[in-house]
């Protein structure tokens, strides 16, 4: 007997014998799902091979759909419609996760495979100075220099502003000013990066006249994007510092600002560092504002933030793609691999810092 049939309302007890409900509904054997999955995968890839157009993605897709149909039908006939639906949703949820992993894996493998074709010591240590676009030579050294200089200055601007704002919000902020800052920091997080670039273009036009592109302009536009991220993460970390620590410090007669400098900030230092590194990882890959502010045609090494165009890794990738030749694409892939490696290193370092230097607050 299946469990789906139940008599409707039986009134009060003793209204008549109620049909015994069995809890032992027929159910698919535990090994059924993996078995069905394997059969579906075999069938899908077999069929595709037969047609002669085997592709991992399409095979996976067909397998998933096939599995959903088979397991749903099997469950509906052996078990009951409710369970069939449950199994169907489970399948869909797994597919969703697979759908997210697919582009990640595809992107990472493509970048690594394509990038390794050109990424070597030579590529990392020469600039594009004197190299014509289609020449089989040149590298990204000037772009790395630009990225380091521009993001360095951006960090120099945004870390103090962001950190002090976070301190204000957590330690001093009361009332409307604090509320306004919190709100507008949120708004600022949503500014499109190209608008940040336009802002600096407009600002530089007013300050220095039209057509001024240099590294400093790029750094300011990146700082506009970085500040809200630093504020958010620092604020979160400072709020984690227990109130008792502050009170203990006050009780010793330490003034408030020293309490913040000597007690609060050191306690939160691991979290603050992590947040700042993640913010750096975020802006180091920004392209659009730099195209507008730092220029996209520099080919030579330029360490001077205040004079002349400055290339950076993301802009390098973009401008190489715009040129479109085979060599250009190779350079773009290699530069993308370099950029991803830098971002991932920052990510890993951030994780390590937060793990190794996490404040020991447990008792």
């Amino acid at each position: 007997m299946t469990t789906t049939t139940r008599p409707q309302s039986t009134g009060s007890a003793g209204d008549g014998p109620q049909a015994q409900r069995s809890m032992r509904g027929r159910s698919l054997p535990r090994l059924a799902p993996p078995a069905v999955l394997a059969v579906c995968a075999l069938a899908a890839s077999g069929a595709l091979f037969a047609v002669g157009s085997f592709h991992l993605v399409s095979a996976g897709l067909i397998t998933a759909v096939l599995y959903a149909v088979v397991i749903g039908a099997a469950s509906a006939s052996v078990e009951n419609p409710r369970k069939a639906k449950d199994r169907l949703v489970t399948t869909v949820v797994y597919i969703c996760f697979g759908a997210a992993m697919l582009p990640l894996l595809s992107l990472l493998t493509t970048v690594v495979l394509e990038g390794l074709k050109r990424l070597d010591g030579y590529f990392l240590t020469v600039s594009m100075n004197g190299v014509t676009p289609s020449m089989d030579a040149g590298g990204v050294y000037h772009a790395i220099v630009g990225t380091v200089a521009i993001t360095g200055l951006a960090a120099l601007i945004s870390i103090p502003i962001g950190l002090f704002t976070a301190v204000y919000l957590v330690e001093y902020g009361r009332g409307r000013l604090a509320k306004a800052i919190t709100f507008f920091v949120d708004v600022m997080t949503g500014i499109p990066s190209i608008v940040a670039g336009l802002f600096v273009v407009a600002l530089w036009m007013m300050l220095f006249g039209p057509g001024q592109t240099n590294g400093a302009a790029g750094a300011v536009s990146l700082a506009v994007l970085m500040i809200p991220v630093v504020v958010r993460s620092s604020e979160e970390m400072l709020r984690l510092v227990p109130q008792e620590l502050r009170e203990a410090s006050y009780a010793l007669g330490v003034p408030k600002w020293l309490t913040i400098v000597k007690v609060v900030l050191p306690t939160a230092v691991a979290g603050l560092t992590t947040g700042i590194m993640l913010a750096l990882a975020r802006v180091i890959g920004e392209t659009a504002p730099l195209v507008l502010t730092a220029g996209s045609s520099a080919v030579a090494i330029n360490w001077n933030l205040f004079n002349g165009q400055m290339m950076s890794l993301p802009v390098f990738i973009y401008s190489q793609v715009r040129m479109g030749g085979a060599v250009n694409m190779e350079r773009a892939w290699a530069a993308a691999l370099t950029l991803i490696a830098i971002v991932m290193l920052l990510f890993l370092a951030a994780r390590l810092v937060s793990r190794l230097f996490a404040p020991k607050l447990g008792r």
């Binding site: 949820v93 969703c96 950029l339």
Partner: protein, 321 residues
Amino acid sequence: MTTTDPSATAPPQIRGKRRVGDVVFANTARGSGILILAILAGVAAFLLIQSSDSLSANTANFFTTESWDANTRENPAFGVAALAFGTVLAAAIALVIATPIAIGIALFIVYYAPRRIAAVLGYLVDLLAAIPSVVYGLWGIGYLVFELQGFYDGLNTYLGWIPLFAGPVSTTGRTMLSAGIVLAVMILPIITAMSRDVFKQVPQGHQEAALAMGATRWEMIRMAVLPFGRPGVIGGAMLGLGRALGETMAVAMILSPALVISPFLLQSGNQTIAAHIALQYPEATGYGVSALIAAGLVLFAITLVVNMGARFVVARRKEFS
């Protein structure tokens, strides 16, 4: 406590005293906060000032014109109609694709994945957010568009009767749909993160109540999790929308642009504000830069409204729970 003169002659009295360090420190902190407000006001103000030049010289209606003849000193005629349409279209495609998948991923991580590896899997999804947009653009133009070509042909063959998928199919794959798909991948982690957070906060009591009355896992999710999490999911989707609206590089690199209003996703054409600015800026002359700044202002306004809406939805949920 107010500021007192330290030289006052009342020795044994304890009085509130404003130390120099405290004053300086507090004001620096406060000043930083105010500086942020100033920057934001500056963004709006400078964009307005610099765009007014071209807007007053514009001989066409800025909001209804599709074409862009701004690189001149004589009678510029330009408008954002096509650009605004393209911007919204690209973001809408991304949202339609990403939202259901993101909900699925969030459910997977919170309720389906084995608990031991759930955190790792969540980290993998976050990795999607760490990849720079220019790399997404490169991957899109250098790899994905070729892979999608066959898919588009099939889509056109079988669903071509739907106007959206009408032919002739672009032979390069550099279409609105390609841009939308890449944008969808980019906003996936944003929507997932927000949904995951709210799903985790669903009170244990509600889940147990549903299970205790004999709900399957899916029924428990439908009964207790989804209604509770809806505002968070909506807020996350709107944040993702804000990101998609403002995204520049992926679109600029993938889409083969044309300043028209076209609903045909499989043909080249359309353009977004952000990509248009990035592509046009290096060649802008005459009123060009000023006109691009005006377009940027429109983009700023659209994203501002969407983001504030998202914050509002999320904040309201917080009040309830």
